[in-house]
């Protein structure tokens, strides 16, 4: 019972905050609603026994990515852009399209059949703690994708510096 109450609280806030984030005229308000959204998603992850992902969500998403957004918005002078109408003229078409995708997703999830359960049950994770379990999986089974992810981040660093620096004479 109590976990249903918490689930409904978190899901209601997540849906409301994401709706608020995309409908605000001022970009700054949208980013602040996104910040609340990320904290509530991190709370939802705690219910799914994903402490490590929950911490990463708060540190990386809320702490790094959203602060980067805030810095960029404060660097730009957006006084004219926030006076414009926020939606395009044909926004009902976008509503119909996304509602159609939503219907397909919701209906197809009714018939989801889950496969066999894996190795890391709750008792198994508790015996070694969650971070050890996820680290073991990450550094043995998914070692090559992990290295590729670090390469992606390196490319992003170089790309961002090259794009945003001023031309030197």
């Amino acid at each position: 019972m109590i976990n249903k109450i918490f689930f409904f609280y978190f899901s209601a806030v997540i849906v409301a905050m994401s709706l608020m984030a995309i409908t605000r005229r001022n970009v700054m308000h949208g980013v602040l609603y996104m910040l609340l959204l990320f904290f509530h998603i991190a709370g939802l992850y705690l219910f799914l026994n994903a402490e490590f992902i929950s911490a990463v969500q708060v540190i990386v998403y809320a702490g790094a990515i959203m602060v980067l957004f805030l810095f960029v918005i404060m660097l730009l002078n957006l006084r004219e852009d926030i006076l414009k109408k926020q939606f395009i003229g044909t926004w009902p078409m976008g509503l119909v399209a996304s509602a159609g995708i939503l219907m397909v997703l919701l209906l197809s999830m009714l018939t989801v059949k889950t496969g066999e359960k894996g190795f890391w049950g709750i008792a198994q994770i508790e015996s070694v703690t969650q971070t050890v379990a996820i680290g073991t999986t990450l550094y043995t089974q998914y070692l090559f994708p992990f290295e590729v992810a670090s390469l992606v981040l390196l490319v992003a660093i170089i790309g961002a510096i090259v794009l945003a620096k001023k031309r030197l004479k």
Partner: protein, 100 residues
């Protein structure tokens, strides 16, 4: 015990809110935010599946998605700064040099 379907429905709803924001807003920063909302919708489904299937592959995948989202945000915001420096606007409809 909360059914798995509820988490996946929540992920689907959040994903579709992101799609709606992406196709109807013309502010490029809000469009980037909508992409992040879509990522988060997928992440909710992946973490829920990881918990219910007792397999950590879903959480590892979420880890990679967050890494890619960070890279995407860094490059996207560098592009936004470049765009604003050249055009003094971040409205996508005003960027129509390639119209021909």
């Amino acid at each position: 015990m909360i059914p798995l379907n509820w988490y996946m429905w929540l992920g689907g709803i959040v994903f579709c809110i992101g799609v709606f924001g992406f196709v109807t807003r013309r502010n490029i920063i809000i469009m980037l935010l909508s992409v992040e909302i879509m990522f988060n919708g997928v992440n909710i489904s992946l973490v829920a599946l990881s918990h219910y299937l007792e397999d950590l592959a879903g959480q590892v995948l979420v880890f990679f998605i967050i890494a890619v989202a960070a890279a995407e945000a860094a490059i996207g915001l560098a592009l936004v700064i470049l765009l604003f420096r050249n055009k003094e606007t971040i409205t996508v409809d005003d960027l129509n040099e390639l119209k021909g």
